[in-house]
Amino acid sequence: MQGKRIRKIVVVGGGTSGWMTAAMLSKALGTIMYDITLIESEEIGTVGVGEATIPPIHQFNRLLNIDEDEFIRETNATFKLGIRFDGWRQGQDQADSYFHPFGHLGQDLDGISFNHFWMRFARLSGNFDYGRFNVETLAARENKFGRTPVGEGREKYAVNYAFQFDASLYAAYLRRYSEKRGVRRVEGMVVKVDQDAESGFVTAVNLKDGQVIEGDFFIDCSGFRGLLIEQTLKSGYEDWSRWLPCDRAAAVPCERPPGPIEPYVVCTSREAGWQWKIPLQHRTGNGYVFCSDFISEDEACEKLMARLPAKALKDPKVLRFTTGHRRKVWEKNVVAIGLSSGFLEPLESTSIHLSQVVIIQLISQFPKNGIYQSVVDQFNADILADYVNVKDFLIAHYKVTDREDTPFWKHCKYMDIPDSLKTRMEIFRQTGHVHVRSHELFKEPSWFAVLVGQGLFPENHHPLADTISEDNLKLRLAKIRTGITDRLNTLPDHAAFLERIASLQAAG
């Protein structure tokens, strides 16, 4: 295959990942030089109960040239400013709650992170609410949202955001997008995969109705089972459930509860896992992610149904998964995207992002003139690094807690954790510094919000934060509060903002 020019690309599986891939391939590579086919079966249901995203989705949508307002209307989306974590420190019946915002805290002062100045202030004032120095958190508390006018940057406390949307509508939207750009959709179930006898490369897939779809390059979007990457190429799976023990998710949509539309996701800590609440325009997505060693599927479903914020619209559906990742996301002429490449629980809304990362990486390194092993190896190493970073971040949510009130939480609190995370937490505890490398998805503000929110307050802060007088410190903090509340006061109500977007279409 090396040196062979690639012309025919086959995406096996629809769903969100399949159509995101097809859309980006059709936009970036075009359908003149390439023949892009997507095979999907109506028989295989897709997973899609309201998805939350993180800000890098803007880059993906921009690359596709998608108009944001249109996207909002098409996918019933709402705006997301971050995630509210309830009960993660002390337990679901406790009042503890923290917000992991998309933006940063305050503003860097004297070349060091604002966090250090805040820590000094928190120590001397006894007020540990860092949310007061973050515009997304404050907007979330008041259910406000607005876009920041172009040209008003960091010093004006721009509001960072992503979306909550109906992933199946996103898939449908991208399907129309893709088909308009010449992607061929084939309805059918793959029953057999043909490989080159010598190289093992996939050459074609055979459908139930007898069609044979040949290709030079295959994208495996077949979901958990990994039809090509695993069942055919035996890429192997790294199991991470010793650190992230949840292995089930019960999901159910409910009616939109009365009251404001929250511009954020709520993750509530539960006896054997956690529950999500994702507000969409027309309904609310709910789910209980749990560990089957500590609670049965039936009981988890029962608990979920009893804890819905409004009337359920369906019966709960249970998904089973093993947390971990495919050892090689790219093997021979197959790249796995979506659930086929691995699974990390949606605690930090990373599922769609991790698919998009692979898609964008693939586009930028697309092997149009043939596949080179060096490229493949680097690609796999890069993707693995992304997974590892997200994994450590997720583990921190379970590990750093005061909760010991249920066997599950006791297990999490005392479980062994990867060395990479251990080191990071230790540095943070001792110095207040978050050690983050540039390629990592979750940066200092995220780690800081979650570690402090979960109850790890550092013993020290940067010595530079002690060099100004107490009054000067307060004046600077007041300045930051002024900037943030100025921004906050310009923001409209989230629901009203959404209505305006909806009405723009009605007006033509």
């Binding site: 007061r132 307060k474 004046l475 903090l477 007041a478 300045k479 509060r481 002024t482």
Partner: protein
């Protein structure tokens, strides 16, 4: 030597603190004979900027005070319905002098040439206040402008704060429901007699009993009524929820039957409304208050108002402080300042043990001046108010000669002749006279030396500087949050 303070609330406890902190170290004994407080949750003390320095002398920490009382800062007062347009009386200066000549003269000239920018737009204080900013004067601002501030102090908490501080510093206290006055043959007070038989002796007595002026009455000191200039005879006090963003200034509005002031604080928003009971009933006044303020008001208290002054502020061995000496209409917030002024002069003229006849004469002279100049300032509102409501019809009494002279000089030359004892500075006079719509006929010829183009450039620079400074100011809320919570 021993001073006995008889009375209640801010007058009594500011007296106790001022005397104790200044003269306690010299061996003076201070005892307060406290009457039941009349302060209620609805009441507020709006303070003019001078209070900051006075507090400083008593070593009262401003941040701690505002934290303890739930009070807030005040950069001035906005007036609506008094002149041709709403205007702002800022606790600060307007513009900067050009070639060492007063800014106001240039402003007058520019207005005659068609400038439409309001006087308050040249005030850093007003510009900041109107957008909810708070200014702490620093080296950059002082070179441009005077930017002072006062406070809005919730009354109950403020009195509690002062009482606790006084007691901690060694002031003695006894609580009484009332007391009898024992005098010697010359009429000097020798002791206060309580119901349970105690006899509290002293060398000097302070009457801090409020408008009752109980000691002054016992000494049969006469009272000069000012009702001919101030129609209001009722004060309604009420409170509502605090504003989401606490405005750093008071809002004063002229109504048909009186006027209304809104004083924001961290804990609640207080309303003070003065009306004339001959024009409106108390019940109607309350309904009007709720309607015009837009606040959901809790219990309201109506009390009588009888403005005027005691013929003497110091009689025999008794000094009246606060309302016992002079009762003001609460417009322009002179109340606390009257107490402060009395104490500052008393400390400066504090009598020796042998009587103090000389000091008394000087004190009475100074206090009368201060009271009357303050009164003149307040009369401007009634004299020049543009409202057609019954409350604002022509005054029953002719303007005091001192005020007439000010108005005439101002009209003719844009100059306000200031006399001794003024508590409102020149900037304040310029702000309210201009705000009430007084049109000037001419200005100082010296300012003609600057060309039109230069003048416009100067004015533009000032406005630009103010805009920039306002941008960089802290909001009142965040300042309160960081320093006073």
């Amino acid at each position: 030597m021993k001073v006995v303070i008889f009375g209640r609330d801010a007058a009594a406890w500011l007296s106790a603190n001022a005397l104790q902190s200044a003269l306690g170290p010299t061996g003076l004994t201070v005892e307060v004979v406290e009457l039941p407080s009349l302060s209620q949750a609805q009441d507020i003390y709006p303070a003019l900027p001078a209070l900051e320095a006075f507090h400083g002398q008593m070593r009262i920490d401003e941040h701690a005070l505002l934290k303890a009382t739930g009070g807030s800062y005040s950069l001035g007062q906005s007036f609506t319905g008094f002149g041709p347009a709403p205007f702002f009386h800022a606790y600060g200066s307007h513009g900067v002098a050009i070639d060492r000549l007063p800014f106001f003269q240039y402003f007058t000239r520019a207005r005659q040439k068609g400038l439409t920018v309001a006087l308050e737009d040249f005030s850093l204080t007003a510009a900041g206040a109107k957008v909810g900013r708070f200014i702490v004067p620093d080296s950059t601002t002082v070179s441009f402008a005077r930017t002072d501030y006062g406070y809005h102090l919730p009354a109950v908490a403020y009195v509690d704060y002062l009482r606790a501080k006084a007691l901690k510093s060694g002031v003695r206290m006894i609580s009484v429901r009332d007391a009898g006055v024992e005098q010697d043959a010359e009429g000097n007070i020798t002791a206060l007699l309580t119901r349970n038989g105690s006899r509290i002796t002293g060398d000097l007595f302070i009457d801090a009993s409020g408008s009752d002026a109980q000691l002054m009455r016992a000494l049969e000191i006469g009272f000069e009524s000012w009702r001919g200039w101030f129609r209001g005879d009722r004060v309604l006090a009420a409170a509502g929820a605090p504003y989401a963003n606490v405005p750093p200034y008071a809002r004063i509005e002229a109504l048909d039957h009186g006027w209304q002031g809104l004083y924001a604080a961290q804990d609640r928003t207080r309303l003070v409304q003065v009306h004339d009971s001959r024009l409106i009933s108390d019940d109607d006044a309350l309904q009007m208050a709720a309607r015009t303020s837009g606040l959901k008001l809790g219990d309201a208290v109506v009390s009588e108002l009888n403005s005027g002054r005691s013929a003497q502020a110091w009689a025999k061995n008794c000094v009246a402080v606060g309302e016992a000496a002079c009762v003001f209409d609460p417009i322009d917030s002179p109340g606390l300042h009257t107490i402060q002024n009395g104490l500052v002069h008393l400390l400066a003229l504090f009598p020796q043990a042998d009587g103090g006849a000389v000091e008394r004469t000087e004190y009475n002279h100074l206090m009368q001046q201060g009271f009357e100049r303050t009164r003149d300032f307040q009369i401007v509102h009634s004299a020049l108010c543009g409202q057609s409501g019954a409350y604002w019809r022509a005054l029953e009494t002719a303007l005091p000669e001192t005020l007439t002279r000010k108005l005439e000089t101002f009209r003719a030359r844009g100059i306000v002749p200031m006399s001794d004892g003024e508590i409102y500075p020149l900037d304040s006079w310029e702000a309210i006279l201009t705000g009430h719509g007084l049109v000037l006929e001419t200005f100082e010829p010296l300012v003609e030396a600057t060309s039109d183009a230069d003048l416009m450039a100067h004015l533009k620079r000032m406005l630009g500087y103010i805009r920039e400074q306002v941008q960089s100011m802290n909001s009142h809320d965040s300042y309160l949050e960081l320093f006073c919570k």
